[in-house]
């Protein structure tokens, strides 16, 4: 890829072109729906193929921002259109572009009404997600970060389950309330540092007294997005009511935005406050891991169970980030990626039976293995991955985080590790109740196994899950340099202060 080629902008805005094409299609409803599906699928596939250039063209040895683009946008204010990726963000871009076509494929038949609007929402959502991970300007970042809410609100509210209105409103207002505080923090940085350019801001030292305030303003936004206990309550509602593909994107990408925010802003910009309040984050994370795991154990609804397990896994992620060790950070990023793949796949698994039986209640199922053996095998694989079985994706990340936490504080490590044990309990309990047991219910006896389309959806996720588990270094190598650079900067900031006798 020759330098100067605006690859990231292309990845970000190509979905909008697809959306515009879908918007312009007129005609009979059936034809329009079919057209919308194909256009959306092709657009997202092209975006994915283009994004592979990042995988092959990314220089793993460098911690600098790559594929950068810079254009003046609001020169009076010092705000520019600045895009670029480094090791922290590049794989999330790929995760977003990879999950979107799968989601569109997964909604192929299950979405029957207003298909055109649905596909437009998904493509707009892709634009916002990719843009958010590529943005290297605070205001630009905020625009994408918030812009995600619009399509997601509509996806939950229009195509969701019975309590969709409540869930959509809760999702929107919770997240908005968190992020407006971040907006104030951004404004403070803007006029004190005189720039909103992220690489330039790294050079700006935020006064220590202010760091605490900014840290909590950012925390308010990111904690809601992650979500951390006790502000996680929007997530189960949103997950349960969202259509399958919405849940996949929510779990796969949107939850990562909060943790990414910690990595991108809290740690490098606010080193003191981050170090000072790490114990607070540890406490919240451990509570999240143990408490939400126990809650998951008691769920009657499959999607709710997986939603709570997401909160627990994200607890591991925040734990890892605030250990300030290479293992912790790498583990956290790896867990985020693995969780994106595995929990996305689990929601798809729920979607498969939901499309057939139209119930998410665990008690409605039992003995599904007899009629859907292929499904049972896939569900087994992702259950094992979610539990953190060695050889699957989640194991690597969680293991690294626990090691890092042990160095910091054995009790924290023990708390985090207990989440893995509890995870095994609730996931295996779920699996047993749904897949094994006697096949008694008459409508279950006639279920069909996975269709070729569903196999196509699952195949890449299976490959990724095993690949990440067996040969993690092809992923870890992407962010090792960036993590090292981030930690070096963090150490240096703390040391300077120590030398100055503060």
């Amino acid at each position: 890829m020759n330098p100067g080629f605006p690859l990231l902008s292309l990845l970000t805005f190509l979905p909008l072109v697809g959306a515009a094409i879908i918007l312009s299609v007129r005609g009979e409803e059936k034809v329009v729906a079919q057209n919308a599906r194909w256009t959306a699928l092709w657009t997202s596939l092209i975006v994915f193929l283009l994004s592979l250039a990042l995988w092959f063209g990314f220089d793993k040895s460098s911690a600098d921002f790559q594929f950068t683009e810079e254009v003046d946008w609001l020169p009076d204010f010092g705000i520019g259109y600045h895009m670029g990726v480094d090791g922290l963000s590049v794989l999330f871009v790929l995760l977003s572009t990879a999950l979107t076509p799968l989601c569109i494929l997964a909604s192929w038949e299950s979405i029957g009404t207003r298909v055109r609007e649905y596909m437009i929402s998904f493509l707009v959502l892709e634009t916002m997600m990719v843009g958010m991970f590529c943005a290297l300007d605070l205001v630009l970042f905020y625009v994408f970060f918030e812009g995600v809410l619009i399509p997601m609100f509509l996806i939950i509210g229009v195509w969701g389950g019975p309590r969709r209105v409540y869930a959509a409103m809760k999702f929107f207002l919770y997240t908005l309330a968190g992020s407006v505080l971040m907006l104030l923090a951004i404004l403070w940085l803007w006029y004190n540092a005189g720039t909103t350019d992220i690489p330039e801001l790294f050079a700006y030292e935020v006064p220590r007294a202010v760091q605490t305030w900014l840290f909590f303003a950012f925390l308010a936004s990111f904690a809601v997005k992650v979500p951390m206990w006790p502000v996680h309550t929007w997530l189960p509602d949103a997950h349960v009511e969202a259509p399958t593909a919405g849940s996949v994107i929510l779990a796969g990408v949107l939850l990562k935005m909060g943790a990414y925010g910690f990595l991108r802003f809290s740690l490098p910009l606010l080193p003191f406050a981050s170090a000072e309040y790490a114990p607070l984050i540890f406490t919240l994370s451990v509570v999240a891991v143990i408490y939400t795991s126990l809650v998951a154990l008691a769920q009657q609804d499959m999607k709710k169970l997986i939603a709570y397990s997401s909160v627990a896994h994200m607890g591991i992620v925040t734990l890892g980030i605030f250990t300030f060790t290479p293992q912790g950070l790498s583990g956290a990023i790896f867990t985020m990626l693995a969780h994106g793949v595995v929990s996305g796949a689990l929601f798809l698994c729920v979607g498969v039976v939901y499309d057939r039986v139209h119930s998410r209640e665990i008690a409605r199922y039992g003995g599904v293995a007899k009629v859907m053996p292929g499904y049972a095998v896939l569900f087994m694989l992702f259950t094992m991955a979610s539990v953190g079985l060695p050889g699957t994706a989640n194991f690597v990340g969680e293991f690294l985080v626990i090691i890092a936490a042990w160095k910091v504080n054995p009790w924290v490590a023990a708390g985090g590790a207990s989440g893995m044990i509890l995870g095994a309990c609730y996931m295996l309990y779920l699996y047993r109740r749904v897949i094994f047991g006697k096949l008694e219910k008459p409508d279950l006896k006639v279920l069909l196994d996975l269709s070729p389309r569903e196999y196509v959806v699952f195949a890449p996720l299976v490959v990724l899950t095993i690949w990440m588990g067996i040969y993690p270094s092809s992923f870890l190598s992407f962010f090792e340099a960036s993590v090292a650079a981030l930690l070096a900067r963090h150490e240096a900031a703390l040391n300077v202060a120590k030398l100055a006798g503060m």
Partner: protein
């Protein structure tokens, strides 16, 4: 005597008289022709405004500067767009009379005089020229009790506000010895003692102007008048006069009273915070969408005044940008409201919008864009309006005001979302009628502005910057 400076106003006044005469004489219906002539006159005035020289005229009563140009263009555009919306509505409601566009024209002339006022006398003349036609068109649907009530209520309260303004003006004149802005600015220059009479007069002036802008605590008339008046009239009220009133507040406070900012700043901080709070909380329970828009407009005035209250250049620029974006969002929203009719009959409950996403996807999409924009969700234009005033507040150290602002914008998010929820998540048996092409055009234009503003914000911000530079010198 440099009277050519006032050509835009003169054009409007003269063409108003000509149109009046030529509409009265023929026997047949002249409403449509009248509307078109008025829109033509407004556009002509806009061209003249753009060609206007800078300077003062009429013994310093009148001033032409880039600030005035910016605000006048907004007012003219707002007035023309809302008249366009009114044509079809009035015809269907059997309200099509040529007096309506004419009254709007005279009101617009009043706004222009207000914006260009360089003397407290001119302020009063402009304000009254604006108010009298507004009283009449509020009650334009004279056979409808609610419309008559709206007109009467507006008249009684408006007269009180005019009285306050006049009383304040006379106090200022009595204690400072002049009504001319330039002389007042000299009289209040730093170092001069500030007499209590001037401060009392200043507060009265602010109260009179805040009434026109419907800022808390002088907002009481807004919901009733917005609800009672015919929808195009409400659209007119919410757009141009509000911009003119804010422009006048900005001009008065940053001009003659600039050095008294210690005195007026607290008042404005309070007004701004109270408007934002009331606008967001009181809107939650509304069922009528015009009432909802009334409270929403109170809230928006609060945000706009935040920029003025913090008393910095950046803040004033924020006000201008905010008002421009507000005007365009508002015109678009009212285009949707004007087209709300079921089997030919106008309806105005929020629940009447149910299922719009299914029956009229285009209209629903624009409306959703306006609502998200008003809520201040990026990447739409409304977000940038808020961004600039919040930035100004943070910069000037008014963190508490910015906190109230972001808090109320979350609360405001709730009721804007409710409209979207009704449109997309609810379903209906009886769909609304399709909007007419003219209205659809206004919707699309305004919607595109909201979506595309992010790509090219520099022209608007540059123009606002120029206007502010002229104002604060």
């Amino acid at each position: 005597m440099n009277w050519t400076l006032a050509l835009p106003e003169i054009l409007l006044a003269v063409s108003g008289l000509v149109i009046l005469l030529s509409c009265v004489i023929p026997k047949q219906d002249t409403a449509y022709a009248g509307s078109m002539a008025v829109i033509g006159a407004l556009l002509g005035a806009a061209v003249l405004v753009m060609m206007q020289d800078e300077g003062t005229a009429f013994s310093g009563q009148y001033i032409a500067d880039p600030f005035g140009r910016f605000m006048k263009l907004l007012c003219l555009a707002g007035a023309a767009a809302t008249l366009l919306l009114a044509i079809d509505f009035n015809e269907r409601e059997k309200l099509a009379r040529f007096e309506f566009p004419l009254l709007a024209l005279f009101a617009t002339t009043g706004m222009m005089v207000m914006i260009s006022a360089n003397d407290l006398m001119a302020v009063y003349i402009g304000l009254e020229l604006l108010s009298l036609p507004l009283y009449v068109i509020a009650a334009f649907n004279r056979d409808n009790g609610r419309s008559a009530e709206a007109g009467l209520k507006y008249f009684v309260l408006g007269a009180l506000a005019s009285g306050l303004l006049l009383y304040g003006t006379s106090l200022v004149y009595g204690f400072a010895g002049s009504t001319n802005f330039d002389k007042l600015a000299l009289a209040f220059a730093p170092g001069q003692p500030v007499s209590a009479g001037v401060v009392v007069g200043l507060v009265f002036v602010i109260a009179g102007l805040a009434f026109k802008a419907s800022a808390v605590p002088f907002h009481m008339w807004t919901p009733d008048v917005y609800e009672g008046a015919p929808t195009p009239v409400t659209a007119f009220f919410a757009a141009a006069p509000k911009v003119a009133a804010i422009a006048l507040i900005v001009r008065v406070l940053t001009g003659p009273f600039a050095d008294l900012s210690d005195q007026w700043q607290q008042v404005l901080l309070l007004v701004s915070a109270a408007s934002m709070l009331l606008g967001s909380f009181a809107a939650i329970g509304q069922r009528n969408i015009k009432r909802l828009m009334a409270y929403s407009s109170i809230g928006h005035v609060g945000y706009a005044l935040m920029g003025l209250a913090v008393d910095t250049d950046v803040g004033v620029r924020g006000v201008l940008v905010y008002m421009a974006i507000y005007l365009i969002m508002n015109v678009g929203t009212f285009a949707v409201l004007v087209s709300m009719r079921r089997q030919g009959k106008a309806v105005e409950l929020i629940d009447d919008l149910a299922g719009l996403g299914k029956t009229h996807p285009g209209t629903a999409m624009w409306m959703a864009i306006f609502m998200f924009s008003m809520a201040g969700v990026p990447p739409l234009a409304g977000f940038f309006g808020k961004l600039y005033v919040f930035l100004a507040a943070m910069q000037a150290g008014y963190l508490w005001l910015a906190l109230i602002g972001v808090g109320t914008s979350v609360i405001g998010g709730y009721y804007y979302l409710r409209v979207i929820k009704v449109m997309y998540f609810d379903s209906t048996e009886e769909p609304l009628d399709a909007p007419t092409p003219g209205v659809g055009l206004v919707m699309a234009g305004s919607g595109l502005f909201n979506v595309l503003f992010i790509l090219w914000p520099a022209p608007l911000i540059g123009a606002a910057q120029l206007a502010v530079a002229a104002l604060v010198g």
